[in-house]
């Protein structure tokens, strides 16, 4: 047989190329999970915060002393147990675990890690917290004793953070060897990350997957399209408008929790928001049901108090509607504060993220109904952060998740004694709140802690250091063939990467 190649044939072949069905596009390699991340991780630094995308990768590569189980409770990781020793001491007993360079995890590695984080030249997220540790003692290879400057009930919770993994003290300069279930094999910047199972992982039989291929899909619609077309097995940040479609698809499943939340912060360094009555007037003027519908397609819940989840042991049902919609009360409070004729002010948000912009627009309408005339300022995110940090605004929309499900996890957004930041109100120091947060951190008795945080919430509802708006649903979408991966509850949703160790894909 003679094969002849002519011009017509080549043109016809080229024209047919786009219509070739590409079998290779399907995500079907057994034991290899393809994961669509919402953003390319900017930098994978074990101790610095560089976003939730990087944090998810960190949970694959590293492990800390402690972590969270799928129910959200603290569980041992590199430490098998921990106990309090006197007012200022915490003792952690290490288990038999191995770093990815083959060396045993010993107390000297823990000491070295804490020293790196607390060092003068550190850019670590927990730098200030670790500086509260006076010294780290290593009585033997498997025992670590932390002596803190003040009593610290929250130390084990800090140790569970994805910003606090234990790194081998013998890591080559500029790289960080961890003891997590997956080893970073290859990375194409901004495009993909390839990880392979670490055979020496200390949990027997885990990880179940052979490998994970992480692909960055910044466009939310394409991320969903890639899942629906079978290109990838699992995606994070399922957009709210697509949650129904993912749930209804027989080949897919949706795992969503109400973890993150939206709220308003104020510039209290000047009138009118230096007056708690005006802040409360704002709190009572907003119909949160409408916000949930408009900004999150009904995928969320109204938030009329501090962001403490209903599932939390620290939830106070009697305070859960402390800022309920009551326009008459709003107007009364405004009149009491001397603003019976209304207020004109600016509301800072960002046009870069739809949920921030939509939230601002609905809030604007609701406030207008009680006489608060709001002008929107919607720059890009980078500008919004800068303006927020400098306090160049009257009121601002903000969205985040707490550091943990412990009420101390919201300290960073309500404690005005901390340095100015776009995540909390500007120039709003409430001594009672700062004192109660400190008391809660130092108290070990759970019943007493509950009383402290109830008192704190009562003060917060009167003082309105922030105004809660909505819980928002945070969803993972996956093929039904994916098992063992779970969205962690509440504020821990961004810790779901922990469950990659038990995930498998057919």
């Amino acid at each position: 047989m003679v094969l002849s190649v002519n011009r017509r044939g080549i043109i016809a072949g080229a024209a047919a190329l786009p219509f070739l069905r590409m079998q290779g596009a399907r995500a079907a390699t057994p034991g290899v999970l393809t994961f669509g991340l919402s953003a390319p991780p900017s930098a994978i630094n074990p101790w610095a915060n560089t976003g939730t995308a990087a944090a998810t990768i960190k949970l694959m590569i590293y492990r800390g002393l402690v972590s969270f189980d799928p129910a959200g409770n603290l569980r041992g990781e590199l430490a098998e147990s921990w106990t309090r020793e006197g007012e200022h001491g915490w003792v952690f007993k290490l288990r038999d675990a191995t770093f990815q360079n083959g060396e045993k995890v010993i107390s000297a590695d823990v000491k070295w890690t804490i020293e790196q984080i607390a060092a003068e030249k550190s850019t670590a997220y927990f730098r200030a917290e670790m500086q509260q540790i006076e010294r780290v003692e290593t009585p033997d290879d498997l025992t670590v004793r932390f002596i803190t400057k003040t009593p610290l009930a929250t130390l084990p919770i800090w140790m569970a953070s994805y910003h606090l993994p234990i790194i081998s003290r013998n890591s080559p300069k500029g790289s960080f060897v961890g003891a997590g279930p997956f080893v970073l094999k290859a990375q194409e910047r901004g495009v993909s990350i390839d990880l392979e199972a670490f055979p020496g992982y200390y949990k027997k039989g885990l990880p179940k997957l052979k490998a994970i291929r992480v692909l960055a899909y910044p466009d939310e619609n394409l991320r969903v399209a890639a899942l629906q077309s079978g290109d990838i097995d699992l995606i994070e940040y399922v957009p709210w408008q697509a949650m129904d479609a993912v749930s209804a698809n027989p080949a897919l499943k949706l795992d969503a929790v109400e973890g993150a939340f939206m709220f308003l912060v104020f510039n209290a360094s000047k009138p009118p928001f230096n007056d708690a009555r005006v802040r409360k007037a704002v709190a009572h003027a907003i119909k949160r049901d409408e916000l949930v519908k408009a900004a999150f397609f009904g995928r969320g819940q109204p938030l009329e108090h501090l962001p403490i989840a209903a599932s939390s042991a620290f939830f106070n049902p009697e305070l859960a509607h402390g800022w309920a919609y009551d326009p008459a009360l709003s107007k009364k409070l405004l009149a009491e504060a001397g603003f019976a004729n209304g207020i004109s002010c600016s509301l800072l948000s960002t046009a870069q993220y739809g949920m921030h912009k939509d939230t601002a627009e609905v809030v604007q309408q609701h406030l207008a109904a009680v006489g608060i005339k709001v002008e929107l300022n919607l720059p890009d995110w980078a500008t919004r952060v800068a303006i927020g940090n400098r306090g160049q605004y009257d009121m601002a929309v903000m969205g985040t998740a707490a550091d943990s499900n412990d009420p101390d996890g919201i300290a960073t957004i309500i404690d005005g004694s901390l340095s100015p930041s776009y995540v909390r109100s500007f120039g709003l120091k409430t001594e009672k709140i700062t004192a109660l947060l400190a008391a809660g951190r130092a108290e070990l008795d759970e019943a007493k802690r509950k009383t402290i945080y109830r008192d704190l919430e009562k003060v917060a509802i009167e003082e309105a250091p922030l105004v809660g708006l909505t819980w928002r649903s945070q969803g993972y979408g996956m093929r039904k063939a994916v098992t063992g991966f779970q969205n962690m509850p509440g504020a821990l949703t961004f810790y779901s990467g922990l469950t990659f160790e038990t995930a498998s894909v057919d």
């Binding site: 590409m22 290779g24 596009a25 003068e120 466009d219 980078a382 303006i387």
Partner: protein, 317 residues
Amino acid sequence: MLGFAGRRLAASLVLVWVVVSLVFMVIHLIPGDPAELLLSQGGVAPDAASVAELREQLGLDRPLGAQYLTYLSGLAHGDFGASLQDQHPVAEEIALRLPRTLELVGMAALLAVVIGLPLGVLAALRSGHVIDRILSDLAGLALSVPVFVVGTLLVLVLAQKLHWVSAGGYVALAVNPLRHLGLLMMPAGTIAVGLAAVVFRVTRGAALEVLERDHVRAAQARGASPAVIIRCHVVRNAATSVITVVGLHLGALLGGTVLVEFVFNWPGLSGYLVRSVEARDYPEVMGIVLVISVLFVLLNLIVELLYGVIDPRVRRG
């Protein structure tokens, strides 16, 4: 001629320096601090001391003038600097991404010409007939639909409904040439839709004009076959206008494929530029703008030199 080339080259270098300096000033003037942004990701409040430390490590605490001089001196040594986010060399990343954008733009231009040119000639030959009207209306439609709509529709139909292709992404040519080409076709096709309509209109207009010319009528009178007339007279004459128009559009597409790169997850230069601006990653923004402006200046330089070759009066001017 050498003097002319030297003058133009010097002017081009000055132009590049002006662009670099302007971009440096503007990107530093707009609000947003790279160190603060990097450590604030995920809506968390970073420790103020950590931010200060990172700023010092990245050299952002130095006076703006000193930063500018350091940058220029680096450039003079061919050093584009490193990303503020992860210290990755900027030049390396541009070298990786520029060919992808060039490939995307090149393939789009090829598709546009392959589709637009023959249809333009056909419409001119059938001027006023039904086929001309249908093609002209389709071109109008193609021009008025934004690229993100075309792209999203392609993803919806070809990837989500028919499962013929991947929803987007990128595989290197060396890894899998067929998949690489397959993934390239959707974004390139999306850009080509509008560009093909432009090519169609230009070709149709040029062809209509050529068909009216005396030498074409004379050829027809001599009994030349329609195929010869189309090939030798119509297409050849229309090609000059098409090349000019496509050339102009290619220049604009160099930094303007953002939406398509985003919709199809194509890791090219435009998407990289947008993300760098969002992160206020100064060395990345500077590097990309520098490369794009040098390419533009280079294109202009070549055109001017060619004018000089064609018309000696330009050299004296």
